[in-house]
């Protein structure tokens, strides 16, 4: 409730400022950027002059008529400006809100570069180049940096897409760490090498403020078309004066059409609806992106997003959950299944990684193994003599020692060397099982008890729920999806089939990614991709639409043309939709605007020539009351329709993934046919209202 009131107050303040802004936007220097509306402004000034002349008693028509026309022309301008001001205000407010409320990664900033030094907790965005931070197991690394001290296993899946943890240590060429990656074990002291990129928000604010906004290529092309229409109508209206002079001479009746009527006709004919709302459409497209926590570097990029033909999606994080789950226990032939399950359970009780938990739950749920309490409890109050061995980057395995029994689980080669060190041998059967699992797209985890291998746990990537449906939607939109993974082709194929992508690229290297993008582009297609690692930077720079994760490295963010503050790779799909909406709204309102002209002709032409050719009254199919009212009704409708369409301009025409042919048909019916019919009704209603007011 309170929030609603706050919201209302916020909106009220916004509208107040927008009203003021719409007056400021009347400045001809700003107006001239929009040729259609500039013509309206010149017309408004002209009719105002004619009005003053009429008030002085030398008018070409009744001063009340000229006055009403000129007032409504000013309203037309103000309404159009208002739409732009509201869109700008909302965008600005959204970006400011984002800046103030954004939850930052916490960083432990050290006073001295050693482990024992005291530290203070600061937001990652406050870090500067050269700051020293401590990162412990479970922490996110707050920014790009170099390791000064320590060795740790780091989950870089958010950056590289590779789900297996990697070892990072001081010295040598493995001392670089990336912001947004997570330390899994041990600790590091990191020297920050680049400040956080909050400056992007300022860039975004610039994009939503009309004055600084650059027109996108598509907007320029549309403006050319609108300018062409404006010129045509200028010529139509200007030549109507000589035509009218000739006609009055020919018929010997009436007087030539007045400048006021010609100006009214001109403003009604030129595409003011789209011309007036065009800035608002562009700005609100940006604003919709900010609402989704995406910062675009240019309007061009947002438009290009709507054209994307191929999406390159990282497997990890986008299509699969970042972590793998246990799905099966495969015992050696000499071992009972329950024995392996129980042993695995014991080995994982204290393992708090998602993989570990999944092993426990698989053992409990599927194989009904009881025993062991809640893991958290176990860890702190474990039975006497039970000692848990956590996973470390050095051993690359974990397990438990209890009552003279020692259980270990880990990668095949790590367990193998462990077993050998115990003086035991590894049965050949293990290799077969391990290979089978790997071939099916899984990750094998070997379990050994007292130096003897019992069997293998099958870990598998879990495809996100709903992702398959998303890909079906994308296919309907005409977009091809390609999965990018560091896995081997066999694993990749299995996951690709499960997720329903169109294609996959396995064992990717930065070079192969770049090559793929170039190949696709050479076919004339537009490519979108997300990325966050430094090695993604070349590919991001090459892609037409490149979205960097906010958690990504500095080079990645530099190379991208959009940044996702939520670091959610599926966002790409929404970005594509926003881009499409932007174009669709422009197309729909252009169609609507031009279609409107049909009815305006039927209102104004018979009215303008009623005295010269009474027979033309047959074209007054709306039976509008008087010539003055007919012209005024058309002008008023033309102004009001802008107000009515502001919500549509701000919200955007809804996009549905139904294929281009159906979209075209539906939107032509709504905005084309609707654009022909609606103004007939509107003008008639306004005319009825006007004649009612006259009688009162």
């Amino acid at each position: 409730m309170r929030k609603n009131r706050q919201q209302a107050r916020f909106e009220k303040g916004l509208l107040k400022r927008a009203l003021w802004d719409s007056l400021l936007l009347l400045d001809p220097r700003k107006m001239v950027r929009n040729p259609v509306m500039f013509v309206v402004e010149v017309s408004a000034v002209l009719t105002t002059g004619l009005w003053i002349q009429a008030l002085a008693g030398q008018g070409e028509a009744k001063s009340s008529f000229i006055g009403a026309v000129s007032i409504w022309l000013w309203f037309t301008l103000l309404f159009a400006n208002f739409s732009q001001a509201v869109a700008e205000g909302r965008g600005r407010a959204r970006a400011n809100a984002l800046r103030s409320t954004r939850q930052d990664t916490e960083a432990k900033k050290l006073r001295q570069p050693n482990r024992e030094s005291p530290y203070e907790t600061v937001p990652a965005s406050m870090l500067h180049k050269g700051d020293m931070v401590l990162v412990e197991a479970g922490d996110l690394i707050p920014g790009d940096g170099e390791i000064v001290e320590g060795v740790a296993s780091v989950d870089e899946s958010a950056v590289t897409g590779e789900s297996a943890p990697v070892i990072r240590e001081s010295g040598g060429d493995r001392n670089g760490v990336t912001g947004g990656t997570r330390v899994l074990s041990d600790w590091l002291i990191v020297r920050i090498v680049s400040g956080a990129g909050e400056g992007f928000l300022d860039q975004m604010i610039a994009l939503v403020e009309g004055a600084k906004r650059k027109k996108t290529p598509n907007e320029i092309a549309l403006n050319i078309l609108l300018a062409a229409f404006t010129i045509v109508f200028l010529v139509v209206c200007a030549t109507l004066l000589p035509f009218s002079i000739f006609s009055t001479q020919a018929s010997g009746a009436g007087s030539p059409v007045t400048i006021t009527v010609l100006v009214a006709l001109l403003v009604c004919l030129i595409p003011t609806t789209i011309g007036g709302l065009l800035p608002a459409i562009g700005i609100s497209g940006m604003e919709r992106l900010i609402r989704r926590n995406v910062i675009a570097m240019s309007g061009r990029a947002v438009e290009a997003a709507g054209d994307v033909d191929v999406l390159l999606l990282d497997k990890t994080g986008t299509m699969t959950l970042g972590n793998r789950r246990a799905v099966d226990f495969v015992p050696l032939s000499s071992v009972a299944l329950s024995e392996l399950a129980e042993t695995s359970l014991l080995a994982s009780l204290a393992d708090e990684t998602p993989e570990g938990r999944s092993i426990v739950s698989l053992a409990r749920e599927k194989y009904g193994i009881v025993g062991g309490e809640d893991q958290g409890q176990l860890k702190s109050h474990g039975p006497e003599g039970m000692r848990f061995i956590p996973f470390t980057a050095h051993s690359r395995m974990s397990g438990v020692d209890a009552g003279g029994v020692s259980i270990r689980k880990g990668a095949a080669d790590a367990i193998e060397s462990y077993v050998r060190a115990q003086g035991q041998s590894v049965p050949e059967e293990v290799h077969t099982v391990v290979e089978n699992i790997a071939r099916g797209g899984g990750t094998p985890l070997v379990v050994a008890r007292n130096g003897q291998v019992l069997g293998v746990i099958h870990l598998k990537d879990v495809v996100k729920t709903g992702i398959r449906e998303r890909f079906i939607q994308l296919r309907k939109m005409g977009i091809k999806t390609v999965m990018i993974t560091g896995d081997n082709p066999l694993t990749a194929a299995a996951i690709a089939a499960e997720a329903g992508v169109d294609d996959f690229l396995a064992q990717v290297t930065p070079e192969s990614k770049l090559r793929l993008i170039r190949e696709v582009q050479a076919e004339g297609r537009l490519v979108a991709m997300t990325g966050d690692g430094t090695n993604d930077a070349p590919a991001l720079a090459q892609a037409d639409v490149a979205v960097a994760m906010h958690t990504g490295t500095h080079p990645a963010r530099e190379a991208a043309n959009m940044i996702d503050l939520d670091s959610n790779p599926t966002k790409l799909i929404e970005i594509v939709e926003t881009g499409k909406q932007l174009l669709m709204t422009r197309g729909a309102l252009t169609t609507f605007s031009i279609a409107n002209d049909v009815s305006k002709y039927f209102a104004i032409v018979p009215a303008a020539f009623a005295a010269t050719y009474p027979a033309l009254g047959a074209l007054n199919i709306l039976r509008l009351s008087t010539p003055e009212n007919a012209i005024l009704s058309a002008v008023i409708f033309n102004a009001l329709i802008i107000v009515f369409l502001i919500p549509l301009a701000l919200r955007g025409v809804p996009y549905r993934p139904v294929g281009a042919a159906r979209l075209l048909r539906d939107n032509i019916l709504i905005y084309g046919l609707g654009g022909v019919v609606v103004p007939f009704i509107g003008i008639k209603l306004i005319d009825m209202l006007l004649s009612l007011l006259e009688r009162v």
Binding site: P217, N218, A221, L222, L225, A227, A228, V232, F233, V235, V236, T239, L240, L241, P242, F243, S244, I245, F246, S247, A250, S251, A304, G306, D309, K476, M477, G478, I479, E523, G524, L526, G579, K580, Q581, L583, M584, R586, G587, A588, T590, T591, I594, D597, V598, Y601, V605, F609, Y613, A615, L616, A618, L619, Y655, A660, A661, L663, L664, N667, I668
Partner: protein
Amino acid sequence: MTTSGWIQITIYMVVLLLLVRPLGSYMARVYEGERSFVTPLLGPLERFLYRLGRSFGLRPDAEMEWGSYAIAVLLFNFLGFVFVFGVERLQQFLPGNPQHLTNVSPDLAFNTAVSFISNTNWQSYAGESTMSYLTQMLALTSQNFLSAATGMAVLAAVIRGFARQSASTLGNFWADVLRSVVYILLPLSVVFAILLVSQGVVQTLSAPHTVQLVQPTVDASGQTVTQQTIAVGPVASQEAIKMLGTNGGGFFNVNSAHPFENPTPLTNFLELLAILLIPAALCYTFGSMVKDTRKGWAILAAMVAMFVILLGVTVWAEQTGNPSMAALGVDTAPGDLQAGGNMEGKEVRFGITNSALWATATTAASSGSVNSMHDSFMPLGGMVPMWLMQLGEVVFGGAGSGLYGMLAFVIIAVFVAGLIVGRTPEYLGKKIEAYEMKMASIMVLVPVVVVLIGAAIAVVIPAGVRAVSNPGAHGFSEILYAFSSAGNNNGSAFAGLGSNNFFYNLALGLAMLFGRYWSAIPALAIAGSLVRKKKAPEGAGTLPAQGPLFVIWLISVVVIVGALSFFPALALGPIVEHLQLR
């Protein structure tokens, strides 16, 4: 409409559409430089002309970028202008002038030269009493070939802009013009001229015949007239290319209403067919050359649909006739003894349907030939031909120029439709961007501006108004028609406007120049920009630029632009005339 009218129109459309594919694919082969069954026959002529061209320093095998192509077009047409102008101004001193006609006045010579190089064939003169045989054959007939070939060559270059990718050149203008003449226009004209001669179209170099009138008559000044001069000349050779090349400039003043130009029902049918034949078939050529015939059929379907609907209006308006005649008790119903309807200004031999069909076809295509006088049509019947020209001559249009004009509309239609489906607009895989929009807008804009401003000047200056022979709204229609015809390079006249004077010769001449080259050059510029672009493959998200929906959309764009640009002007002309009649 009468049953016989239905049957005749149906036969006409069916025969026309049956010829589209064979001729269209043949022309595609010609422009792609492939051999065909006529190569053994005409190849030597082509090679000879190439050799001739090389001796003038032309290189017919060198590929041209759009700029050099455009310069070649302008240069070639400028030379044509100088030649036609020169022959007209000197015809008195040249041979081939058995009637001893004097030199053509400078303003008329300018107007006529512009008219014939721009494929307009607006005629401010009566052919048989103004132009010598030599002028008709050497200057006018040769330009009938060359102006049509220019339009077709420009179209071939524009098509290559869509067909090629990541290239920079559009072909060679000299080769394209030569191929258009040697392989397309010349063989068709020869066959057609022989057919016409067989039907009685005259072809002679002898002087006009003077014959005694069977029944002497009295002229306007009260003198008794006992003799009549029957004009003859090399008609058939000019008639064939006049119809095939969407030229329309008649040998005689009354054009194809003259029995020596169009003597029999068969010649009438064949000439009608020839009006639309090449423009219609070029749609298939387009589809074939861009390797997507559906695109070509879609454009043709849009043209045919607009044509048939507007034809219906004309036939209906003429067959219904004049209500004030009916009010006088005159029987205007069709029957065994009369065509009924409005027969004023029509040949009895052709009747309502064939006159209306011709009027619609000749203005849909930029032919401008007539077999009846449009000035005498009913207001709505006369509005249709006028509006077909005002649409920009894109419903079939001129040989070549009609289709590249239509492609400008296609670009605009695709642009808006592309936005509507949420993609940067593309056509045939080529992205439509600001530059293409600018050029397409110019192509659509310039004829509209030329027509309206030209007419606006004419209705206010005394020289413009004085030429009008009918008072009232009809006089306005006459002026509007003249500028619609010149600005869109059609060339047909509403009649009733005395246009052979300095003002109209100059104003209409300029309108023809603007209309022609402000369309051809931007079209080449679009091609020059598109040819550099890559072709994106079509997908489910791509706008399908074919199929009924796109055809309807394209028609809507053409009609809306045409209607919005000319509704007020038409309201003060034919529309109010029509409403006043009721």
